[in-house]
């Protein structure tokens, strides 16, 4: 590739002196992680259900199904009324997806969600998202989160902080842009 070699040799002419990688050493705020998480999740328009159980999530799912809604659950122990379709496009009418999160971050309300089946689009295409996270997987900040998260070769993952939102029209916040319109988090 001529472009590659030319770019790399042009970089040899950089005027900047070598700079070492700094040591990242920031003391985490460990005070009341659940409280911090709840505050920040509310700030990003998500709702926290503290001290939840899988039975509680199942009850919620049952009531949604009773309302006639389409619910897909990828969480073991929680059953919806839809199964995984052949193509990701067929997920377009899912009203609620129930997915497990791997980590929750207290400082910003984000939850790390990894790829859990062949359709990566699930947490984004569903109208509403319910995430189930173990309270013991709550970390203080992003520095801690990135040392713990899983991101296997050939896969993907996302920090999800609240439902999708935009303020592109006159800076007024509208919840529900292209991704989920609401986010409920169950801390179990």
């Amino acid at each position: 590739m001529p472009g590659r070699n030319e770019i790399l040799s042009a970089l040899a002419k950089s005027a900047l002196d070598k700079q070492p990688m700094p040591v990242i050493d920031i003391a985490p705020n460990m005070q009341d992680l659940t409280g911090q998480f709840e505050t920040n999740l509310a700030m990003v328009a998500g709702t926290l259900h503290r001290d939840a159980t899988l039975e509680l999530v199942q009850e919620k799912v049952n009531s949604l199904i009773a309302e006639g809604l389409q619910v897909l659950s990828l969480v073991e122990g929680v059953t919806g009324n839809r199964t995984l379709p052949a193509t990701p496009h067929e997920l377009k009418d899912i009203d609620y997806a129930v997915i497990s999160g791997e980590l929750a971050v207290a400082e910003n309300g984000a939850i790390w969600v990894t790829e859990q089946h062949q359709h990566r689009v699930t947490p984004f295409i569903c109208e509403n998202l319910l995430l189930v996270v173990a309270e013991e997987d709550l970390v203080a900040n992003m520095h801690q989160a990135v040392t713990k998260l899983t991101l296997e070769s050939g896969s993907c993952g996302a920090f999800i902080a609240g439902p999708s939102k935009t303020a592109d029209i006159e800076q007024s916040l509208v919840v529900g842009a292209h991704g989920a319109c609401s986010l409920g988090v169950y801390l179990v």
Partner: protein, 458 residues
Amino acid sequence: MSHSSSATHAQQAEIFCRDESRVDWHSKALWLMREKRDRAAGSIPEWEQLRQLGSEIKLHTLTNLADLLQQFEANCQANGIQVHWARDGKEHNQIVHEILARHQVKKLVKSKSMLTEECHMNPYLEERGIEVIDTDLGERIIQLAGQPPSHIVVPAIHMKKEEVGDLFHEKIGTEAGASDPTYLTRAARQHLREQFLSADAAMTGVNMAVADKGAVVVCTNEGNADMGVNLPAVQLHSMGIDKIVPNLDSAAVLLRMLARNATGQPVTTYSSMYRGPKAGGEMHVIIVDNGRTAMLQDKILAESLKCIRCGGCLNTCPVYRRSGGHSYSYTIPGPIGIAVGGSKDDTNSIPWACTLCASCSGVCPTKVPLDKIIHHHRRLKAEAGQLPYGKANYMPLVGKLMGSQTAFNCSMSMARGALKILPGSLLKPFAGAWGKYRELPVAPKSSFEHWYKNNRSE
């Protein structure tokens, strides 16, 4: 109104400033973002430590870029990602088109990427029969309006909701006269869902490219990048060479600041990491130079590549807020646009769209010395004989005048006299463009030198 025009910043700003109430509204909307940013930054006790780390991480990266880019490439390939290199915008567009043509792509959904704007990719692909749909709400608005972005984070910040309402009525069939942002956003959601579901390929920009993982990080609030990328088989990600970070620890530092400094949110709604294609799919990363290696050869300009595109410097800039994003000759407006686009500015005017107040440098999360870089651009223009507005003629005279104590004191004394006895209308033309929107100063009774002699000197 677009960057293809060769009108100077002042001439373009004059168009924007005709409607004074709009200027006030625009300025306030952006200042609100600055205030939210201040609250978010203030809530993190280690904020200044993060800025210092951000600056050092980016400098470390820029000074080891060749190694890190090769490491990134090798790791991407190990993850099944195809890596391409483009020297300039034209090569970038050709590579993208080749990939799309190979897959017979008719419709491409794209999430926000200032790089593809910089490369003028949309018209290139459209001329070759590929429909490009911008999916970020703000980007879609300006795409439907046929305008370039006026801000790097909120690209339609210059438009009022009534204007968006009229545009949507005409283009996507919303009710006439409707201008409620929630209603319009929901309509756009429906309209763009159809596009996502019928796209043949998706493209995004890259916020960070993690060298030791061979993964790209894409941040959005709307979820449009993830909706796009995860439906069709083919996904493409375009990145400047400056987007590299060594590892996830570095990414964490920058992710803690990006959204807080942009809009005051603790983090963007989606910070997604792609470390390989979906099952049965293809993932391409296009690494673009387009002038960046040249910038690295100038010690001062090089630091502009530390930028993480949060837009914080635009929101705080007194000139940007009052002249609008379309006044700048470069795709990226505001202080960072002057820094990275100054060398490409054929109007020879954008380095002067700045008061050198340095507010931008003060809010920058990676400590890009924006005011210093902008000042440096003025010097580069002068050295290249490209000073604007006759500055080349009068600046040497000003220099001589300021350099001679006698000449300076004498002329200042004359100016004080003139300000006292002559009407403003007679004097103002001497102030040139400076005097156009400013009142002349009230003349003091005596010079500072005179006052100092009487009051302070021994």
